[in-house]
Amino acid sequence: MRTVTFLPSYRKIEVARGSTILDAAQRAGMNINVVCGGQGKCGKCIVYVQVGKTEFDRQKYLQFFTEEELARGACLACETTIQGDLQVVIPESTLIQEQKILIEGKETEIEFRPAVKKYYVTLQPPTLTDPSPDLTRLLWGIQKSGGPVAEKIYVPLEVMREIPALLRHSDWKVSGTIALVPGGYRLIDLQENDTSKRIYGAAVDLGSTTVVAYLWDLVTGKVAGVASNYNKQISCGEDILARVNFARKNGLSKLQSLATDSINAALTSASNTAGIDREDIYEVVVAGNTVMTHMLLGIDPAYIIAEPYVPVVQRALSVAAARIGIAANRNCGLFVFPAVSDFIGGDIIADILACGMGERQEISLLIDIGTNFEVVLGNNEWMFSCAGAAGPALEGGEVLFGMRANPGAIEKVTIDPFTLNPTWGTINNIKPRGITGSGLIDTLAELISACVIDRTGRINTGIDNPRVRKGAHFPEFVVAWARETDIGKDIVITENDIKNLIMSKASIHAACVTLMKEAGVTRHDITTIYFAGAFGNYLNKKNATIIGMIPETDIDRIKNIGNGAVTGANIALINRRERKVLDAIAGKIAYIELNAEPSFMDDYTSSTFLPHTDLSLFPMVQALLESCRLRKGSG
């Protein structure tokens, strides 16, 4: 065994010789940023070995390091094997940081009809003249207090066993919680005295990257607390595919418990904020993508990712939360959103519920951008959907200075077309550390408007400006000089970064076009474009249109719904009737497999241009760019 000490925290861990530094760091509980899942592809897990013997093929990964980093002996944690006892410095930039997460749902007026309700009843003790059984007495009391008809309430054995002692010990004053589950009404909990004000429900967005939980007071119908944190499964792989592969290697139970842990962590911190006891949470509603909900329920997801890509379950599920380890009331119920296919999961059904596109005659286009992207086109009668890999570029992967929406990420950029000096805004207004997806989209749109790049994204290195330079590997544009940053080096966007971004935006646009063709509609037929996903809220709609990520439409017809998954989960939690339509929505959506569409590659290639090879699809953008070019020409 070898001892590895991580600096600056001095955390120690013993591992076998030959393990990677990444293994050791994960076991020591250090949250290392591994976008590629530890395959040596993203170059984000830079560490410095101060003392000790390691093996690392630095020549192979030169592209990830600056001169300065090389001089300090940088290596990649995932590709460095431990030979002797080590001291390893993990720089702050290598650690996953607190993330800015959307917690604002859409303001929707929803009828308040939760599925769980608590009734306080005061019962007459039995007498010789009124000898009816305890259960009858209790259920009758609940019915008289406005609850469901006594005979229709099912009582599980474990609650039944508690009834006689509880009733007598409480002097016949108890609070009973009734849940409406698919089988009917169910008495899920019985407590002494009046606790009827203490009943809460949680709506959870279980994302592959982040988990967001809203805690609702089910008496007042108000949000009691909100919390979010990373999905702890990240330690088993950054993307879904890596995690399914992890599950295949006997890792399902670990992934299951990590999913539960992630939800529990969010529930705990929301409960703490609200000052309530988790025992008073009686229902949890979860919206997540298909793989996530399979994993949460401990259902083997292996068949979802291999041809012919079949999920085990599509319908909405109601189960006992305790069975999968959710830390709430022991009889808390769990409602899981239905899915459509491998890639269209409950999170998208929740988006559809949140934006209301399934209720209207007008045609809407919904685009959810996260680790992957999903697109839904349709109205109250029909819907088409598809999904694809947006590529990690929009989340900061495969981009030299790309980063997630963490503090210090440049999220807004404008560039003066003449001086080429950028103005940027960062998250939390601190010195920049990198650029996040929305900042990258702004940069791309501004660079094309300023004629720094051509329509294929190639930088015109003939421009005489210090910000435009040849770069070590690719031509690049300097967004922030080293002295302005928090990381001590120039933050640049390279031609290669731009290429990756264009590939991402092209696949999203081509997916939209594929669905529009399938439905036989044009961009003029689309009334509203909805953007969902954490990314959507910070997105500059105009710039997203300029780069041709979405079909061109009036900017005011584009709406950000933010985290639609959690909004949808909130709606389903506070109005149980809304759940009834979910299976119908899921059943109505036709899923288009992009890989099987012969025209997709053609649409993709034509979208790998700014904004598009067919400029007539983007008349406003075309006019704008022409005027930019003319202005540059005359200036």
């Binding site: 051509d454 329509r455 190639r458 053609d602 290639t605 034509s606 241009f609 090879t613 070019r629």
Partner: protein, 320 residues
């Protein structure tokens, strides 16, 4: 009964001028105005389509040139000027395409020699020229400017612009009023994108020739054919960014297995046949310029194109 050959097309392939005669300010004995088509080639229509131009390819350093061509041409291959003259006077080519293969030598830097070569070829032949420059980013700017300058007033066709490097060739074309070959890898969208890029840095549509990239027959030409068909359909339907004449160079056909493995006494014939049939297929797909490397291919193709035309004429007569 004939077929209804009215397709309702409204677009026209743009016209591109190749070469300049003395009257036009150059020194060529002939200049061509290609393009202008409003339908597919070799159809039974009132307006017969012109035969594609046949350009003969020569080079200034035969080290990497096909041995079949070297064996056939003998010492000529060491003298690009004489070789170009022979292409005009003996082989019967319509144009000469000069490949500056010397730029592919390691550490090439003698740009002045290139200029001389271009000048000597221009004085040896009176045909319009295609000049194929360097594809080395470090020197291509200098190479294209030197060629462009040497051919000033002659309306050369400069090759080859690609999406990853088009600025220097476009700069030379703009500075000295030459045209440009825009090559993309067998894809209609990429072809259109490159044309837009060229247009946006100032190259006019009537100074661009599309090279869709020509695979050898049996070795991917079906993809080329399909890309060319789509490009031409788009042009005829009115897409101005794809309405340029097309140029095909089936040079790959000289190096395919069937040619390499042919018995020594049949190899030459096999090479000519493969080059010719690939060229005919390209012509049928709509190519306005065909570039060949085997001298015998020139004559065979001339005959074939004449036959295609007379055939279409006679059919027209029958229908009437």
């Amino acid at each position: 009964m004939g077929f209804d050959l009215q397709f309702g097309w409204t677009g026209t392939v743009s016209e591109v001028v190749l070469g300049r005669t003395r009257a036009e300010g150059g020194t060529r004995s002939v200049s061509y105005r290609i393009g202008g088509g409003t339908t597919l080639p070799f159809l039974d229509t009132d307006r017969p389509s012109p035969s594609p131009l046949i350009a003969f390819e020569c080079c200034d350093n035969p080290r990497i040139w096909s041995t079949i061509v070297r064996d056939y041409c003998g010492d000529l291959v060491n003298d690009p000027a004489e070789w170009a003259k022979t292409a005009e006077t003996v082989y019967g080519a319509d144009m000469v395409r000069l490949n500056l293969t010397s730029t592919k030598e390691r550490n090439f830097s003698d740009v002045a020699a290139l200029k001389k070569t271009v000048e000597s070829v221009l004085s040896a032949t009176t045909l319009p020229l295609i000049i194929e420059g360097s594809n080395e980013p470090k020197i291509d700017s200098e190479v294209f400017l030197a060629c462009g300058e040497a051919g000033q007033g002659e309306r050369l066709l400069l090759g080859t612009a690609e999406a990853s490097r088009y600025r220097s060739i476009a700069a030379a074309a703009l500075a000295y009023d030459h045209s440009v070959i825009a090559q993309s890898p067998i894809d209609i969208n990429l072809a259109k994108q490159l044309n837009i890029l060229l247009r946006e840095i100032g190259v006019a549509r009537d100074h661009i020739i599309i090279d869709p990239y020509t695979g050898a027959l049996g070795y991917g030409f079906e993809y080329s054919f399909s890309a060319m068909e789509r490009i031409r359909f788009s042009a005829l339907k009115g897409d101005a960014d794809l309405a340029m004449p097309m140029c095909c160079a089936p040079a790959d056909s000289l190096t395919i297995k069937e040619v390499r493995d042919a018995p020594a006494d049949a190899r030459d014939e096999m090479a000519v046949q493969w080059e010719v049939y690939t060229s005919i297929a390209a012509a049928v797909a709509g190519a306005e310029i065909i570039c060949v490397r085997h001298p015998r291919s020139v004559g065979v193709l001339k005959e074939a194109f004449a036959g295609l035309k007379s055939h279409s004429h006679s059919r027209t007569a029958e229908v009437r």
